[in-house]
Symmetry: C2
Subunit: 498 residues, 2 copies
């Protein structure tokens, strides 16, 4: 029986089943024959360095299924061929999924008490959905003769009429150049995923990203990206000196930047800094990817040109989406970039899910073409301005002194730094007890050092009144937490005064 | 200048730009200072083993941008700091996408002449779409109070009402067990993709698949699967002896099987063979994945139980989709499996695209709940029976003698083996000249040996008359090809008769 070899870890089968299988193979290969006696359990356990109960369990399973025959006091024997092959030789059990596929770390722990006011997500408020307009345009779409094309299988690139519309719009605006093309994706999230797949098999799989950055980007880079290069984001956007150093040292294949109302910091790059980012990307040969899903949500100040417009080589890849500015339940975003890279992304898209759902693409096309998207955006911006005012005002009123934030001119989130010794993660437990939820800064860290005092207040989906109430509760929790720190500090033994 | 080091291949920057960058770094580090003279181009080219024109181009670019100053007859000098830092130091060029992201091999060469009759795809015929019913149900969906939920961001698991409906249906049918859950995907393609992502980072990434098999499965397994284990499919489905051998030797983590109307062979496993597949999966600890997107398209004979039903441990993962049986332009499929594995797939889904588009999920739920899907399936099966009859009848009439196929009882494709010396790939050129397209067997190979005489006739989307005409043209092309073989055989020098 010395030939017995068990699988090393990772097979997902319990050891006794691996042993039973190994014994079965010895019979298959003729090492053991009908009537042969197996070693005593103690003896075999010793030979193989196994627990004796493992060997007993293997023998028992093989006997139960008729593969071995046990004779009391004499041991276990290989059964006759006919008996052994009649049935599955042991009762199958459910698989051990935790061993097979270890769980990831994506899930946030649920709040113990019900959340009344959540600053945790950044999704548009559903009260503002223009339902009547949507119903009308959806009905027109459904009644149209295009319905057959909508319901039939299509191109990985997306629904033709929408692609043509978006490309023409981008050309008119000076964002698209000759040689650019468009791929429709399931929101911006899928665009990020397809970009990360583009790197799989690439010799250089390093990607430079902002730090802190949207947590969904960190997660999507996990499997295929060998090296995430974090570049700090300051109050005025990605730090240019740090970017130069990172690009020079790591030469990442991709550089992903959100120049307007970055998630989570809300930071926006000036035109000069945008140009500096482009120059650095050119200089070090990194492909520049511009995440531009928030720029339409500008409530104050003048719009700034995209990196895509400023990059006269036309190499920048621009990501946009209807999710943040229209209806996030309809998953329609797009990639605008040079045709060769769009073609490669379309290949990845084909094997990811063939193509994006047609119906929502067709309805959103009508929403944009009819001018209703523009109207909706105007309303959204007015409402957004009120929300932004509410959240900044409430922070001034209710957060403990020493708290810092920089008022963004748009977007959906405010990045708040609490005064020491407060920590965003420990404060969260107290805030949740009072019904208020948010995401602590650690959630957005792409680098080593998490910003332990920072937190993101996603205000985009809440009314000004709810925002005020939420920040008030948060401020109360913070003061309570500060008091607890002082109390415990008071309990520490006083130093001798010498 | 001996410290100059250029990037080895893969940076995507031309050599002269790499050299210019390297020179710039020497200035940054202080090795070169304002006013220093650079070596003559010939000299530096010799030192670095570069072409002299490369060095000249680097100097020229650095001079043009003010980083170096050229003095006629004296050489090139490092410019003053102020001059060097004023502007981008050389004109950026578009990126070389082919070097950055080498193209894949997914694209089929386009037919040179227009395709009149395509047996290449397997999509449902759009003439059979129940447009009036769809319009009615879509309008009801849009008018309903659920619209707000539909338009808002949702769960990675999918639209709640559809998930609950599908789970209840599966429980009623005895397919789902306690402890099972459902994840909505963008068609079956995305389910396959998410399963392959489940393996990324897993110690065992081997997957056993049928050979031949749906080409989209082979492509999706590419990036994250280290080892594709092909198992031959015979006329009665996956070969059980070969499967046992493959599982015993390779111990793949997943085993993906299409028991009914397999694509491309149309083969269906008997109940006995289904049980054997399950026993083998249990015995070797492989997770069994059942691709069940065709079983509803049974035109003849009795329905067979799914692997999921037969597997009393409940471990089998079942993939289904509305794409093949309703409207492929709406991308809605689902995974039914034990809750732990569905939760892990939902994690992958979240970072792939957050969740599937809600609107189509809501409309398809009404399509199913109202009984209209059942009516549509009845009509589809009647039409499918006519198509199946037409394609088999036409093959009997028009294909050259020695051609072989096995009539399936359903599905969308017929797998034809041509007689020697015909080859499916060379015949394709001739068929396309005559306006008929199909996919040769090589397209579906997951193993080493491609079936060079086999081809797939996707008949699901064509009317019986078009099918007959298409097979007639194909038969004519085959006979012409055979005649060409005979003619060229006749041209070979005759052997001396001794």
């Amino acid at each position: 029986m010395s030939q017995l070899k068990l699988d090393s870890s990772g097979s997902g089968l319990p050891l006794y089943r691996q042993l039973a299988e190994a014994i079965r193979r010895l019979v298959d290969t003729g090492e053991l024959q009908t009537g042969d006696r197996l070693p005593a359990t103690r003896e075999l356990a010793g030979q193989l360095g196994l627990n004796r109960t493992t060997v007993s369990a293997a023998y028992a399973a093989l006997e139960e299924s008729g593969f071995l025959e046990g004779q009391v006091g004499r041991g276990s024997f290989v059964a006759a061929r006919k008996t052994r092959e009649a049935e599955p030789y042991f009762a199958a059990e459910p698989l051990d999924w935790d061993t097979l596929f270890p769980a990831g770390d994506w899930a946030r722990p649920q709040a113990a008490s019900p959340v009344e006011i959540s600053f945790a997500s950044s999704r548009p408020p559903e009260e503002d959905f223009p339902l009547a307009v949507f119903r009308q345009l959806a009905k027109e779409t459904i009644e149209s003769t295009e319905l057959t094309e909508i319901l039939q299988l299509g191109s990985p690139l997306g629904y033709g009429p929408l692609r043509r519309y978006l490309l023409a719009q981008a050309q008119q605006a000076g964002v698209a150049r000759a040689g650019d093309d468009i791929l429709i994706t399931n929101g911006c999230q899928q665009a990020l995923d397809l970009l990360s797949r583009l790197l799989s098999g690439n010799a250089n799989r390093a990607v430079a990203v902002e730090d802190p950055v949207y947590h969904g980007l960190i997660r999507v880079l996990g499997p295929s990206v060998r090296d995430v290069v974090p570049v700090p984001v300051m109050e005025d956007g990605i730090n240019i000196e740090a970017l130069e150093k990172a690009l020079a040292e790591k030469r990442p294949r991709l550089l992903i930047v959100t120049p307007s109302f970055q998630n989570p910091t809300g930071a926006t790059l000036s035109v000069e800094r945008r140009k500096a980012v482009i120059r650095l990307a050119h200089r070090f040969g990194s492909v520049l990817v511009e995440n531009d899903i928030y720029s339409e949500l500008r409530y104050e100040g003048e719009p700034l040109p995209t990196l895509k417009e400023l990059d006269h080589t036309g190499s920048t890849i621009l990501l946009r989406s209807y999710s943040k500015i229209a209806f996030p339940g309809l998953r329609v975003g797009w990639v605008l970039g040079p045709r060769p890279v769009v073609a490669r992304l379309a290949e990845k898209k084909q094997w990811a899910d063939l193509h994006s759902d047609h119906l929502s693409q067709a309805i959103l096309l009508r929403f944009a073409e009819s001018g209703e998207l523009t109207h909706h955006l105007e309303r959204t911006r007015r409402a957004g301005k009120d929300r932004l005012h509410a959240v900044c005002d409430a922070c001034s009123r209710y957060l403990p002194s020493g708290s810092r934030w920089r008022r963004p001119q748009g977007g959906m989130s405010l990045w708040v730094e609490l005064p020491a010794p407060l920590r965003a993660d420990s404060l969260l437990a107290r805030a949740r007890e009072r019904g208020v939820d948010y995401l602590p800064g650690s959630y957005f860290s792409s680098g080593q050092a998490a910003r332990i005092r920072s937190l993101r207040l996603g205000f985009g989906g809440l009314s000004p009144a709810v925002i005020r109430r939420g920040v008030q509760i948060l401020g109360g929790a913070a003061r309570e937490e500060l008091a607890a720190y002082s109390a415990s500090a008071g309990l520490e033994p006083a130093m001798a005064l010498v």
